[in-house]
């Protein structure tokens, strides 16, 4: 579990890198921390791994206080850093063995765990090669394997799939999803919004050290983009001017062959709306929710934060 309250960090030059961050991530949940470069994501993660002491506020990770129990936190947290941080003259299996030792695993546990992770990430055959000879994606996978070596209950992953090919990215995403199902608490810092959308239960957008938005994805879409939109598509040009809309529905846009509605409570409004369209003998070929992406939420939030106009 990760709980932070008013977590803030000021550096010596009086610059507030993080200000008033309050988060709550439960076991089995994934939080995606999104933001521009320099927004404060890495500083937040470093405070959660007890690498940086908060200037203000508090944080508990895996049940331990970041200021009082830094060693316990490091024992229970797996960190994938922004840079892979591999020792390039060590082979894959040596590297995992080294970190296994640091985390206090005995020789047998290290051997079993490193073989499992290397095989899982498809690095089994390259295990004895120096990591300097690995491709970018392989390096990233080895770094991820390192963060999992001691089977941590909390994972803090900075750009877990950067530089990976699509197959490897998928593999890593699957592994992260599997870790969630084993009740681990996970924070992902990423610029890959599709990945965040696919994996995260909660999203937090950070800008200049402050959390602008924090919540479940659907809730954020509703909050930022407004009510859900539905689209009716017609086989031919169809005049919808005579359509009487049920209460709770309003037209968002219309064309000759489609009509978009903004609907507050779809479960109540939609049956009546479909019935109204049918009564007009509309040549309806589909009636569906207009997909809204996290990207729209993110871009609109960032545009508003910077005082810019958001172009959907």
């Amino acid at each position: 579990m990760i709980e932070t309250n008013d977590l803030s960090k000021q550096f010596n030059n009086n610059f507030w890198a993080v200000q008033g961050v309050t988060l709550n991530v439960q076991p089995g949940q994934i939080l995606a921390l999104l933001g521009q470069n320099g927004a404060g994501k890495t500083t937040t993660v470093r405070m959660l791994t007890a690498l940086l002491a908060p200037t203000r506020g508090s944080a508990r990770v895996a049940g331990f206080d970041v200021t009082k129990n830094p060693k316990e936190i490091r024992m229970n947290v797996g960190v994938l850093t922004e840079q892979h941080g591999l020792y390039l003259r060590m082979s894959g299996d040596e590297y995992l063995d080294y970190f296994g030792k640091i985390y206090g695993l005995d020789a047998q546990a290290r051997a079993v765990r490193s073989k499992y992770l290397l095989d899982y990430f498809g690095l089994g055959e390259a295990a004895r090669r120096r990591s300097g000879e690995y491709s970018k994606g392989m390096k990233q996978k080895l770094a991820l394997a390192r963060s999992l070596m001691h089977n941590p209950s909390v994972l803090l992953l900075d750009e877990p799939t950067s530089a990976m090919d699509p197959e490897s990215s998928r593999l890593v995403r699957d592994e992260i999803a599997r870790l969630r199902s084993s009740q681990r608490t996970i924070i992902i810092c990423t610029h890959n919004l599709a990945e965040a959308e696919a994996l995260a239960d909660h999203i937090a957008i950070i800008y200049r050290g402050k959390i602008l938005l924090n919540g479940a994805l659907d809730e954020l879409k509703q909050r930022v983009l407004g009510p859900v939109e539905y689209e009716a598509r017609f086989a031919d040009a169809f005049d919808t001017s005579g359509l009487s809309l049920p209460a709770g529905a309003e037209v968002a846009s219309r064309s000759e062959t489609s009509l978009k509605f903004r609907i507050e409570a779809p479960q109540v409004v939609n049956p009546g709306l479909v019935r109204a369209l049918a009564s007009m003998n509309a040549p309806l070929i589909s009636f569906h929710e207009v997909p809204r992406k996290l990207e729209q939420v993110y871009l609109k939030t960032m545009a508003e934060a910077q005082g810019l106009a958001y172009a959907a």
């Binding site: 550096f11 010596n12 030059n13 470093r46 791994t49 690498l51 940086l52 002491a53 060693k71 490091r74 024992m75 947290v77 960190v79 850093t81 922004e82 840079q83 892979h84 941080g85 591999l86 020792y87 003259r89 060590m90 080294y98 970190f99 030792k101 640091i102 985390y103 206090g104 770094a143 390192r146």
Partner: protein, 478 residues
Amino acid sequence: MRRNWDAIWMVARREFIDQFRDWRIVAPMVLLMALFPFVADDTTQDSIQFMGRFGGELILERLVPFVILVIGFFPLSFTLVVALESFVGEKERGTIEPILSSPLDDHQIYLGKLLVGITTPLVFSFFSITIYLILITRRDVAFPSPYLLALVLLLTFAHAVLMVSSAIVISVQATTVRAANLLASFVVVPVAFLLQGETALIFWGNESVLWYAIVGVTLLSALIVRLGVSHFRREYLLGREIDTFNLKQMGRVFIGRFVGNAESIRDWYAFELPETLKQLKKPLALVTLLGVAAIVASYLWVVVNVPAFLDISPEITDRIKTLVNENLTDFEDLSTQMPVPVLFYHNARAVVIMLLLGIVSFGTLGVTLFLVNMGLVGGVLGGASLLGVSPWLLFAAGILPHGIFELSAVFLSVSATLKAGALLVTPQQDKSLGELLLVALADWFRVFIGVALPLLAVAAVVEVFVTPQLLKMVVPYF
């Protein structure tokens, strides 16, 4: 304890493996290490021939230990790069964060790096020395005695610890490898000077004095290791990406500490200065103890040892007394020969030099210079005693009147220097090393400006106008 050592060794072992897998590190090191003993051997041969022609056998005897010292130093200087980039290099390569995120303790990481930093140069140094020793068995030159050899090897070891511990402190503080390498001169050059001093001791032939060098260098190294461990903070390595030379900020920290909460000079003298002086109780007690011990030891040494070297017959004593009496008349002109401002400047400069030496040596060199001065006082009193002059009378009339002020100023300043040195090697979680240095300097300047300078000014006036008169009065009783 065992677990602690295992963790330190784990960090060190990985570094060893990493180094010895990189041919760009190993090849030049091995090449230089193997080449230099042969060059030195050749030089030894030439020296034997050269000195043989001019009867320089005495120097030849000392040549081999000197060359061993140089051969030992040579690999230390070029393998220093390993220690210099130990932290900052990992930071630049991005490999430091996984280690810092691990449950290893700060001191385990630090000491692991220190162990590698010391061992690698020493292995190369001792290997180089061994090759040279094997080579010189073929030469017609005296092989150093086991005692002298052990001393030189110990000295090489002490140099390695000193250089590496300093280099690792630099590596933690620097933000780039380039900056760390530039700062390397501050390690290599002083040790090169030290080496010259030690060489002089070797050629002087009094080997036992080398022990002082070994103890001194070891003590300084221990203090630097302590400084490094106490100021090693994970946050410091990750919290700074670039170093900016912010004079304004430095000035703010210094002046903030110097002025404190005082709103007027009166306030400052009433509340701030006493607070600083209160903190000097322990160092002042230590400095007083050391100062008195130095005076007494020096006095006794002169009284016991000098008569064996000098002929102090009653005739000579009388002649010296007459000489002193005649010259004492010049004391009336002291104010023109040595005006008060000159004397004041001279004494203030001495106190500042003690600070400067103290700051770069955690107080030790500052205190050493102070002890030398106290030793001189003891020596003068001892000399007086040998001439039949009462040391108490000389002390009361010639030292005490201005010494009350001057010695008080010196004792307080040296205590502040010692405290500044101690502050630097004491862990402070909320301050960087730079801030701590500024705070230590500000505290020292509080004592210097607030107390020492006024006391030195009074001392200079008394020394020029009062002390000579008193001396003149008591001379007939000598």
